[in-house]
Amino acid sequence: MHKLTVTIGAAAMALCLTACGGGSKEVSVDTAVLAKELLTTVTSDTLTETASDLLPSIYFFEEDSIASGIAYASSGATACEIAVVQSKDAKNAEAVEKLFQTRVDNQSSLYASYNAGEVEKLDDAIIESAGAYTVLCVCDDTDQAEKILEKYGF
């Protein structure tokens, strides 16, 4: 009986650790494909792929810590944007998440006096990580975006 309790307890612990370790799970994602799929959740604007050389100055991440990144940005009419970043080390994903959150906060304060309707989209911004990958998605259809991310292991 005691052995059974210990076994169940160990199994439960293992399950908990697996569930809590979402940021370090083994995930392999084609960032370009994921970004393009997320692009379908934006209907109010024409987003364009921004030159990757400019991404560090837009999102302020350290270039040395990033393996690859792709971003689709707005024409200037809306707050919609999609960014998918692969860090060199999964431990850096949390730092990228923070930078994305800062980006969203900054955008919210600017859009509040420019186009208040866009602030709702920023409030619903999706910032998620899986392994070394981090996603920022400000879009029109967040439910669909969540489904897409789930499919990719987020």
Partner: protein
């Protein structure tokens, strides 16, 4: 019998003829727009006249009044002068002639186009320069501007340069508000500008100031803030981008955001450039439909241009720049020698 047959044939012939006339009439009436579009590709003049006939959507004299703008709410469905197909990079080239390098008053082919600047002969307007530069020219450049400049950053494909942009940037907010994003929150434009060394400053400002009717105040404020920028970056060349035209039929409220105001604010910006020795980039040279308005179909909301036009803007900037003359080595040597000689002579005295 023969006579009856002939009569029948004549009746049939008449019927066929009537049917043909009817079909022709239907084609003329209902396919008129198609014909207009076809002709617009062949002749700008013909297109202008036909466009004028068809509901008077584009005022040929270029002065688009608010009432005219309201009447043209359904301009999308009407025979625009251009095709408006933004998906194609050359879409806007198909409708009207554009000439990226020639001043608006140049060749006879452009003589029917309205000038996009108040003083086409101004020395402050940056002419086309050969050869075009590549992206490395922008490595030491900073781009300051509103959402339209931000759209340019996002969609033009530019790979170099620093962008201090903000949606809703106006003269007032550019002067004093914390609107430039950093990793630690927003800061002012001046603070952001102080963080590096830049040899070129591009400013695109004015769309959010179109409701500013105290134009003298705008002029003074613009001079003040640009002088401040040049204090921070004393070696920089300052380029002032024209305010881009808008598609009035798509703008929510044309009370302020209209092309008459765009022309007005651009005339002020050009005057400031002449007065202060800045360089004016007449972007409407390639974005104008020829009649004092933005090319039809260039935006979704009347203000923010589609990626294809952002790419064209980058091409324009690469071919419109102020060449910096490299100091001639022999001249430099001569100057050094002269200086040393004069120093010697001063010592000897």
């Amino acid at each position: 019998m023969k006579q009856q047959k002939r009569r029948r044939r004549r009746r049939q012939d008449t019927l066929v003829l009537k049917l043909l006339i009817l079909v022709t009439l239907v084609l003329v009436v209902f396919e008129g727009r198609l014909i207009v579009t076809m002709f617009s590709h062949h002749s700008q003049m013909t297109a202008a006249k036909l466009a004028e006939e068809s509901n008077g959507i584009t005022a040929v004299d270029g002065t688009i009044t608010e009432s005219e703008s309201e009447e043209s709410k359904d301009a999308d469905a009407a025979p625009a002068v251009t095709t408006g197909d933004s998906a194609s990079p050359d879409a806007f080239l198909a409708g009207l002639p554009t000439n990226l390098g020639t001043p608006s008053t140049g060749s006879s082919a452009q003589s029917d186009r309205l000038p996009t600047v108040s003083n086409p002969d101004s020395a402050a307007i940056v002419p086309k320069t050969d050869p075009p530069v590549d992206d490395s020219y922008f490595a030491d450049a900073v781009f300051i501007g509103d959402s339209r400049m931000e759209g340019f950053r996002n969609a033009s494909g530019i790979t170099q340069g620093r962008f201090f942009t903000s949606v809703g940037m106006s003269l007032s907010s550019m002067t004093k508000d914390a609107i430039i994003q950093t990793a630690d929150g927003n800061i002012t434009v001046a603070a952001a500008l102080s963080g590096g060394v830049y040899n070129k400053i591009y400013i695109m400002l004015g769309t959010n100031d179109l409701g500013e009717y105290d134009w003298n105040s705008f002029r003074d404020g613009f001079i003040s803030v640009t002088q401040r920028f040049l204090e921070i970056q004393p070696d920089a060349i300052l380029y002032v981008c024209s305010v881009l035209y808008v598609e009035e039929s798509k703008v929510d409220s044309t009370q302020y955001v209209n092309n008459a105001n765009v022309d007005k604010i651009n005339s002020i910006l050009l005057e400031v450039c002449e007065q202060e020795g800045y360089h004016y980039l007449d972007l409407n040279e390639f974005l104008s439909n020829g009649y004092g308005s933005l090319i039809e179909g260039a935006t979704s909301d009347g203000v923010h241009i589609y990626p294809d036009y952002c790419k064209q803007m980058l091409t324009y900037l690469k071919s419109h720049y102020v060449p910096v003359e490299e100091p001639d080595e022999t001249e430099a040597e001569t100057e050094t020698e002269t200086e040393s000689e004069s120093e010697d002579s001063e010592v000897s005295v």
